[in-house]
């Protein structure tokens, strides 16, 4: 699964925009995950195969968001 972690530097609108762009989500879903990151410290963005998860983490890191992969238990 792909996790995005909170930090106090990324603009909230910017994070929403990146989620929309990387995952193709509608604005409401992107805002929901952005708020979850902001309020709880992290959000599980997607559960995917290792290959796809790597792709998404790379995309998020290109935008300098703090994203990691973890095995889903």
């Amino acid at each position: 699964m792909v996790i995005c972690w909170d930090d106090p530097v990324n603009l909230m609108d910017y994070v929403t925009h990146v989620f929309q762009k990387v995952f193709g989500w509608p604005k409401g879903k992107a805002e929901y995950h952005m708020r979850q990151v902001h309020e709880t410290g992290k959000s599980v963005l997607i559960r995917e195969s290792l290959e796809k998860a790597e792709h998404y983490v790379h995309q998020l890191q290109r935008y300098s968001l703090h994203a990691t992969m973890e095995r889903d238990h």
Binding site: W5, D7, P8, V9, N10, L11, D13, Y14, H17, V18, K21, L50, E54, V57, H58, Q61, R62, Y63, S64, H66, T68, M69
Partner: protein, 136 residues
């Protein structure tokens, strides 16, 4: 804007490794591959940035300053460049949290980093407003 963009790249690809270290050899290898890919991306972005800043007609003078012309895909690419500068500057400042810690000491270097952090955020905000504005 040009002074700000000339600072790119600022972000260190391996920075987050210490905070979330890989737990298995496989995960460690994946992390290293991602960091290599990010470093390569930064090199390519820097080359493209140099070409873009030299391109005639990108900046046109107006009454109040300059107009910087960009296509939509270029705006998307510029977000990545600007946020590299913003987040990289913040990391070099010691990752200050305005709610928890006092600001970094006002050395000349820190003032430059704080300037870059704020200006990159300002331009991100302007670009987000521009692409979300209704078409005329």
């Amino acid at each position: 804007m040009v002074s700000l963009l000339r600072r790119y790249p600022v972000m260190i690809a391996a920075h987050y490794r210490a905070r979330h270290p890989a737990r298995t050899p496989e995960a460690k290898k994946n992390q290293e591959l991602l960091e290599d890919a990010l470093a390569e991306q930064q090199n390519e972005n820097r080359r493209n940035l140099e070409l873009l800043l030299k391109e005639p007609g990108r900046f046109t003078e107006h009454d109040l300053g300059f107009v910087f012309k960009l296509s939509y895909p270029e705006v998307e690419w510029l977000f990545q460049v600007l946020n590299d500068i913003r987040v990289g500057s913040w990391i070099q400042l010691g990752e200050p949290d305005p709610d928890k810690a006092p600001p970094a000491q006002a050395t000349e270097e820190n003032v430059q980093l704080a300037w870059a952090l704020e200006m990159a955020g300002l331009f991100e905000h302007v670009l987000l407003e521009a692409i979300n504005a209704p078409a005329e």
